[in-house]
């Protein structure tokens, strides 16, 4: 037999694969943004600072800066980088437990302020990236399912107050603290020598069951926060009560307890207990300061995947956006994005606020609420009334015993939806015909009637969209001048296996627990023990035998909607399979499939959209008008954080992103803060 085939076959193989790698969908043609409408100038911010997680309390993730433009963005280069030194420790980034660098820095004056997953707070020189100070809290993180800190808050106290400029953050074991922004020292007059215990009034809080991953919101002289509750563990988890603190003294001013929803509890007494097991609002809040409203994104009442024990008040406020009076804590209105949520479709971030033109061109105070579902709701932010019509549509019937699904679910019918279409057998994917066949077979055997299929005891259920969302905790960005929205989208189907508790215990999936003391932690994060209910639910990504996703690409996209015309302006695939450590699939070839992403985007008045987020380690810039990719730069680790921009004291515009990876997405871990600017000479 000739040896020639040992030469030709691999050569053909390499040529075929090279052709696949070379294949890229053509970039859209260049297109600018429309002219501004009269009366829509956006915020009064000059763009020099970035004082809130979302840029402003409105969560627009928009900057008026215009030094970096579509015509020069390709010259953008690394200005400085900083390493925090905070990296995952033994066991913190395995078995589904996560170490995630999700921080978006604040920029105030000439400093940047960041927090790390182990909750160090660091101040950097905004021009050079040199460290000014660092604060290291003592944390008990031993039972934290994941480590993440999305950012810190900045508070400017009235003149004459000690510690006049404050950086507010939280520890990984639920303590709120205030630091002097200039020195990094604790503000002694805040709480107990700088700390406030956030477990107060929450009753029994097992280790790791309550901490805060999002920055508190500073609004109208208050610090507003809720916090994360360990999903899926047990009934009667710590209360999801939202609390307002005095940023000077640390005193608890009011608490909105879903169990007593009509009014907030004012200055709760020491023995006051908030209602356990209520929905929590763990995402970043947004606020309309002028009208005195804070917008709370609520999760579903824990445990997430079994709803028979939910109470009427839980049902009313789960998976909703709730407008609460900042002064009193009283709810003004609420809008539910999913009824009787059995799929962990938390609203994971407060809405983005902007004015959009009404029928006569007059500005209507609006908000856009992104959801894990991929459905966008546009509401009047003062009344909660839909501006874009919302329609209740029939949803799949059924459910676990005693836990029927809601008959209908709300859909935003006047706007393009980013919800994935129903999966068909031919959408099953693989690398080869054999693993694809097994995914097709799997699909045929899965319990699936489309989105919001109720779980079943008969077999696995396909959950799509799932808890990682189409749009997760990072939300979208909006351009308040042109009423455009930019959203990056991620498409990962999951499967859910329901096991009766006795069987799960017999199989060793969960340990028995008698309801006293610390609940046992499952070996795998995918297992939701749901103590106090009859069922254990295991939620895993839908992957084939080779570890490739069982659902065909695209897996990641970026899209723009014109909120005036309610039309999709563009939608494109973003990202490649390069670096894809996702769920252990390291095939590492840069195929332009569009890739899973976590972390948001930033848009600028000059017509650019910046995003990292993708599971390939890049930061990219796109032309806002067309979606055309204009620039990209390799990151040293996964960029699963939302970028921000500011103007330094040297007059240069910087774009900054954290690159430290995301344990759940499986991207490369790191501890980098990367700052990009145009070369000095070109300004």
């Amino acid at each position: 037999m000739s040896s020639r085939r040992y030469f030709w076959v691999p050569l053909y193989g390499v040529a075929l694969v090279a052709a696949l790698v070379a294949y890229k969908p053509s970039e859209p043609a260049a297109r600018g943004l429309p002219e501004l409408m009269a009366g829509f100038t956006g915020t009064a911010e000059d763009g020099q600072d970035w004082r809130y997680y979302g840029g402003t309390p409105a969560g627009d993730r928009w900057s008026p800066l215009g030094q970096i433009t579509p015509s020069n963005v390709d010259k953008l280069q690394l200005a400085w980088s900083f390493r925090t030194g905070d990296l995952p420790r033994e066991g913190e980034n395995s078995h589904g437990y996560e170490f995630n660098v999700e921080v978006t820095p604040l920029k105030v004056g000439n400093s940047l302020f960041i927090c790390t997953p182990h909750r160090e707070v660091i101040a950097l020189d905004a021009v050079t990236g040199a460290q000014r100070w660092r604060f290291t809290p003592q944390n008990d993180t031993s039972n934290n399912a994941y480590l993440a800190c999305r950012g810190v808050a900045y508070y400017q106290a009235p003149a004459g107050t000690p510690c006049p400029q404050r950086i507010i953050s939280t520890t990984a074991d639920a303590r709120l603290f205030a630091l002097d922004a200039n020195t990094g020292a604790l503000c002694e007059g805040f709480g107990d020598h700088g700390f406030v215990n956030l477990r107060a009034h929450l009753g029994d809080v097992p280790k790791g069951f309550h901490f805060i991953t999002s920055p508190p919101l500073v609004a109208k002289g208050k610090l507003l926060l809720g916090g994360w509750i360990y999903d899926g563990q047990k009934t009667n988890e710590p209360s999801g009560a939202v609390r307002a603190f005095d940023p000077v003294s640390g005193e608890l001013l009011w608490a909105w307890d879903v169990g007593r929803p009509e009014e907030a509890i004012q200055r709760p007494a020491a023995d006051e207990q908030f209602t356990p097991g209520t929905p929590n609002a763990w995402g970043v809040y947004t606020a309309d300061i002028e009208h005195g409203l804070v917008y709370l994104p609520t999760g579903n009442a824990v445990p997430d995947y079994y709803g028979a024990k939910r109470r009427p008040f839980d049902e009313r406020y789960s998976s909703s956006v709730v407008a609460v009076d900042i002064d009193t804590g009283a709810p003004r209105w609420s809008f539910q994005t999913l009824h009787h949520d059995l799929w962990d479709m938390d609203v994971p971030i407060g809405p983005s606020l902007l004015d959009i033109p009404g029928p006569g061109g007059e500005p209507i105070p609006a908000l856009v609420q992104t959801t894990k579902r991929g459905e966008l709701f546009v509401l009047n932010r003062l009344t909660g009334e839909p501006i874009v019509p919302v329609e209740e549509r029939p949803a799949p019937h059924g459910g676990l015993p005693n836990d029927p699904t809601a008959p209908t679910q709300p859909y935003s019918v006047g706007l393009p939806s980013f919800a994935p279409p129903k999966v068909r057998e031919k959408d099953a994917w693989g690398i080869t015909p054999v693993d694809q066949l097994l995914c097709r077979l799997d699909f045929k055997r899965l319990n699936y009637q489309g989105a919001f299929t109720p779980f079943s005891l008969e077999g696995k259920t396909l959950v799509y969209p799932a808890f990682d969302g189409v749009i997760d905790w990072h939300g979208a960005s909006v351009d308040p001048q042109r009423q455009r929205l930019y959203a990056n989208l991620s498409y990962i189907p999951f499967t859910a296996q329901v096991t009766p508790r006795e069987q799960a215990e017999a199989d060793g999936v969960v340990e028995p627990w008698n309801g006293v003391g610390q609940p046992p932690r499952p070996k795998e994060f995918a297992v939701n023990p749901q103590y106090g209910t009859p069922y254990v639910v295991t939620v895993e990504p839908w992957l084939g035998v080779l570890g490739a996703p069982c659902k065909a690409p695209p897996w990641g996209q970026l899209a723009s909607i014109d909120l005036k015309t309610r039309q999709l302006v563009w939608q494109r695939d973003v990202g490649t399979t390069r670096d894809m450590g996702l769920f252990k699939t390291h095939f590492n070839l840069p195929l332009s499939t569009g890739i899973f992403n976590i972390g948001g985007n930033l848009n600028t008045a000059s017509g650019l959209v910046f995003m990292g987020a993708t599971a390939d380690d890049y930061i990219r810039a796109f032309e806002a008008g067309s979606g055309r990719e204009l620039w990209r730069q390799r990151l040293p680790a996964g960029g699963q954080a939302t970028p921000m921009t500011y103007q330094g004291a040297d007059g240069r515009q910087y774009v900054v992103i954290a690159a430290g990876g995301h344990g759940g997405l499986g991207t490369r871990a790191g501890d980098y803060i990367m700052a990009y600017a145009l070369p000095k000479a070109s300004q």
Partner: protein, 114 residues
């Protein structure tokens, strides 16, 4: 048509038979569940091609060629011009096709086939 019985391409044949049987089994199950019949039929074709190759029959190569052509036609019919949809359906079958082509052009086979 028996060709060069001294060295039939046993490894290739074994791979074809193995994957053919796998596709036949799982594809049969899929078809029974109301899914695509392609995998069952392709599995039969692939296994048959493998058996012929094992026996040193050139017909195995031709059968695979026909199977590949039908596979490509089916793939375009099912997913159209979607490159990522075509990937699992066409890439590996094409690589196996190259193996087959090389077999048929390899010295032993051409000599024996005369």
């Amino acid at each position: 048509m028996r060709i060069n019985a001294a060295s039939p391409p046993r490894i290739t044949a074994a791979v074809f038979i193995l994957f053919g049987l796998l596709m036949l089994g799982a594809g049969g199950w899929l078809a029974a569940l109301g899914g695509s019949w392609y995998y069952l039929l392709a599995g039969i074709g692939l296994a048959a091609s493998g058996v012929l190759l094992w026996r040193g029959r050139r017909l195995g190569v031709r059968l695979y060629g026909a199977l590949w052509l039908l596979t490509v036609m089916w793939a375009f019919w099912e997913v159209g011009m979607d490159v990522w949809g075509l990937l699992p359906r066409v890439l590996v079958p094409t690589l196996l096709g190259y193996t087959c082509c090389c077999l048929s052009f390899s010295a032993g086979w051409t000599t024996a086939g005369r």
